[in-house]
């Protein structure tokens, strides 16, 4: 029953994306017409490009900053560490609307007083990075706490330079966490609507484009778009799961 509830709307949407009639409820015949329209829609394609640029750049910056942050945090004393971690989690706990609004205020404020940083791709990247960092930190944190500090000392004792032992010991151990964090940040960034809506100015990401589309006219083009996205996500999840299963299988063999 629950699955019916969760999937029925999506399935209906997908079925009607093949509907040749523009009349919503009469299924007149099978067609790929709406997909053709979709893939020649400049506005949509442009917004996909924006989404990808923002997602790649901001999740990369977030991964680097987050990795440094979590390694650096380990050396702090207890109280500053706690304060910093709580501040880092603000974008996760705070309602998205408020994060979006506060960042918008920041950009408007800077723009009015210093005449720089008009809202656009750059502000989008800055704000996406901000809410992606907590996800990176969360995925690396368990790996860090599993680290055995003695191995790092052992590497130093055996004559490795600090930089070399950092690379070979610490970074190697937490690499899976870093990769998971990057993927997570990337997905969250692609999926985001609220924050892009407030900080993007006239630059549209895919979510914002969908919003303005669904406000104008109800067109089967949106149905086509959602089925394409649904299958992309579906394939992605299957790949991730297959990879995980393979890993379990491999380690099981050893």
């Amino acid at each position: 029953m629950v699955f019916l509830f969760l999937y029925l709307p999506i399935v209906i949407l997908i079925i009607f994306s093949f509907n040749s009639s523009k009349e919503q409820m009469n299924f007149a015949g099978f067609t790929f017409y709406w997909y053709k329209i979709l893939f020649s829609d400049k506005e949509i394609l442009g917004s996909v490009l924006n989404t990808l640029i923002v997602a790649v750049v901001s999740s990369s910056i977030a991964t680097i900053l987050g990795t440094f942050a979590i390694i650096g945090v380990q050396n702090l004393k207890k109280i500053p560490k706690k304060i910093l971690i709580n501040i880092a989690n603000i974008p996760l706990i705070n309602p998205e609307v408020i994060t979006g609004v506060s960042l918008m205020l920041l950009f408007v404020f800077i723009n009015q007083n210093f005449k720089i940083l008009g809202q656009g791709l750059f502000t989008l990247i800055l704000s996406h990075t901000t809410f992606c960092i907590p996800y990176v930190i969360l995925s690396i944190a368990p790996k860090i706490s599993e680290l055995n500090p003695n191995v790092y000392s052992a590497a130093l004792d055996l004559g490795a330079s600090p930089a070399y032992s950092f690379l070979k010991v610490i970074l190697k151990e937490i690499l899976p966490g870093i990769i998971t964090g990057f993927i997570l940040a990337f997905t969250v960034s692609i999926d985001d609507f609220v924050i892009s809506y407030f900080t993007g100015g006239s630059v549209q990401t895919l979510s914002v484009a969908i919003y303005s589309m669904s406000r104008k006219v109800v067109s089967p083009e949106i149905n086509a778009l959602s089925s394409v996205l649904f299958f992309l996500v579906f394939i992605l999840l299957i790949i991730i799961n297959l990879r995980e299963n393979k890993k379990v299988f491999k380690t099981g063999e050893i």
Partner: protein, 273 residues
Amino acid sequence: MKKRIILTPYIVWCIVFIIVPMVLVLFFGLTDESGKFTTRNLCEVFLYPDVFLRSLWLGFKATAICLVVGYLSALIISRLNVKLQKILIILVMLPMWMNFLLKIYSLMFILQDNGFINGILSSFGFSKFNMMNTEGAVILGMVYNFLTYMILPIHSSLVEIDEKLLDAAKDLGANYFMTFVKVIFPLSIPGIVSGIAMVFIPSVSTFILSKMLGGRQNFLVGDIIDMHFLGGIYDPHIGSAISLVLMILLLICTGIINQLQNENKSKKGALVI
């Protein structure tokens, strides 16, 4: 020494993009256009008591529905074999990665006056009935969007329960109902609490969803904030004041939820002793 340096860029980032924006919200909320301190904005907020109450009330209803439906499904899933469980959990998670707006759009598609349900009804000769722009549609939208966040934590807390405890309860003569009341339910409370927090907060602060499914008469707090920033009335001062009040309200709510969790923990501690 070196470790301090690598932390610096992140601290700077936090200050510029987390702390300063929050301070700006506070500042705008408490000043007027000329930058003077005023409580006028906060007073204006209280012109919208119905919107705040409606947000809390709808969020509460949606959370309650999610809790009942989510708990039942998590319970059923947790009793299946491991392989099937894994597949079902992936199926539960999959819609989470669907675009939020597309999910709302699919609901609109079904509920509209000339939408899917009315299409079926009229083909059987029933008259159409109106579902869009109602409170029910907004609640349905919230449940549809946030149900996953309820199922997942409850499921993981149910899976963690030691099978031996259930066997012990059985050996001691408890039937399934008693086992559920005395063993399973108390042990799943942490999952319930985080599920409630994860559904309630986004439900109360949601926007667009209410605008698209609920129409004008079902505006929520999020929609009013949106209205003061990107909507018809541009007034960041009042918008910030509303955001402030919303933030404080939600902080109180999470405080209460955490309190419940702590009480539960200390009770459990007492039991162990």
